[in-house]
Symmetry: C2
Subunit: 299 residues, 2 copies
């Protein structure tokens, strides 16, 4: 239940009483507190209608869904992963900022399930993903009805599966027999979070390792991890909102300030003014925070 299996052997965990659910919630809080994360809400910056405190309430509200992901609070074993995700999103949405952490939760829910079943590793996460069903996919679609999520167009020939249809797409999902893993596979080349689902959370685990090996306050480590992630690969939310060229340009600018949080302050101001929001990179940062917390990074 505690993900002990992945903890560094021979070292006492700094938070012996914290469960994967606690660490997932704390990861959401540390992600939004980490600054600068150019283009995102952080400890120093709000967006016009999306403020820091909305993320705090979103993190607390997501807990019942995170508990379902861990198999807590349910009488009949571990509830389906899609149900846990939909519950987390519904709870998250109990604040006035609308969508705060949809993408973060999409990454955290399978990782919490993996941690709670002592397999928080790329292979374990793959097992969790591969176990998803058509019902999980249906719940994922229903989750889009709770908040307004910025997404790209559906894959070619897949208009019927547009997530913006919400529950209306469920009959088409069922007709095609698509599991949640299948749905993610269809979007993996255009959505960074879907890509994590299909790659054993490759970038998440790599970033978590870097965070654990880094030094200084955990929020500085996470800010550096965000810059590295953005420098390494264009953000797919920026691509949806501003096009592929703009997403590549944002990554070039992140690469130029990589490792230098002072220089990144200026980039944060610039992205804020230009409306560039690398939100998918922030999602991966939150997921990396979770893995790093489970593996004993100090706070």
């Amino acid at each position: 239940m505690s993900g002990e299996g992945d903890r560094p052997s021979g070292r006492a965990h700094p938070r012996p009483d914290m469960t994967p659910v606690d660490h997932a919630e704390l990861a959401l809080l540390l992600e939004v507190a980490s600054t600068p994360k150019p283009g995102n809400v952080d400890r120093r910056r709000d967006h016009d209608d999306l403020r820091f405190e909305h993320f705090l309430a979103g993190a607390v509200g997501a807990r019942p869904g995170l508990r379902l992901a861990a198999g807590e609070g349910s009488d009949d074993g571990r509830p389906p992963l899609g149900e846990a995700f939909e519950r987390a999103v519904r709870g998250m949405s109990q604040q006035d900022g609308d969508n705060t952490q949809f993408g973060c939760l999409l990454l955290l829910v399978p990782l919490v399930r993996a941690a709670a079943t002592d397999r928080l590793s790329p292979a374990g996460a793959r097992e969790v993903v591969e176990s998803t069903t058509v019902d999980d996919a249906a719940a994922f679609y229903r989750a889009f009805e709770h908040v307004d999520v910025a997404v790209g167009d559906p894959p070619p020939d897949a208009d019927a599966l547009d997530v913006r249809r919400g529950a209306d797409a469920v009959p088409d999902l069922r007709a095609r027999g698509l599991t949640l893993a299948d749905v993610m596979e269809l979007s993996a080349d255009r959505d960074g979070n879907a890509r994590e689902w299909t790659t054993g959370f490759e970038r998440t685990f790599a970033a978590a390792g870097a965070v654990r090996d880094d030094e200084g306050p955990v929020t500085d480590r996470l800010a550096r991890a965000f810059l590295d992630l953005l420098a390494e690969r264009p953000d797919t939310l920026v691509a949806v909102e501003h096009g592929d060229d703009a997403a590549r340009e944002a990554s070039r600018r992140a690469a130029a300030v990589r490792g230098d949080l002072d220089a990144a302050e200026d980039l944060a101001e610039a992205f804020h003014d230009e409306g560039i929001n690398p939100g998918t990179t922030a999602d991966c940062t939150a997921a990396a925070a979770f893995v790093a917390l489970e593996r004993g990074v100090p706070v």
Copy 2:
């Protein structure tokens, strides 16, 4: 269980799924996020060894104790209040900043108990306080062993009851038959949190009403409430650390910027430089946030 009885009638609660435990945790988060709160860690300021992220981890870590306060997660009804408090403090201490929210939890634990039993009112809080036992007092003393709490000298003729003795004071407590309510009564004239315990949480409920009636983001409302509370009464932590005159002077300076968050920014810089930390006023602000959240203040 949900404190529904105190919610404004005829209006849907903005957070239908959030329990008193959720609101207590969110209150801890909103308190530290609210800025400026001169002299305290807030969204814009850290202390040298006590940083914002320590408070985030403290809030998450306190949850199991807050759940005991609400009667959740226990097989045998509602566990004793002192046990809930000690558990909350122990969980809070799982971060590297040492004491983050001891005083906040001392106020929140009885208020969560009151909310969870549908009596979140001054009279209901008094009932909770009056129901405390010698065992609750013993657990309160044990809680001091988890973190380093700044406290004043014990009452005259009560050296044996010095909270700094921790569990060593328990035999003396038992010999005198003192309940937790009795212990608070002994300290009420020198400790702002103990005073709340003995007055039906008078200032907490008044501040919560002001927060609910105020306008704008909840974190701005809480920052204004902090200034009002500090202006109205000297902070007892400042008195312990710097003397009564310094505490009165800090309140005069707060009164001069009351209602003006821009002017309070300068005061925050000044208090930070002078090492003036009105922490007891921040505790009351967190408690007021909890009551305001239960009563439907928007986030």
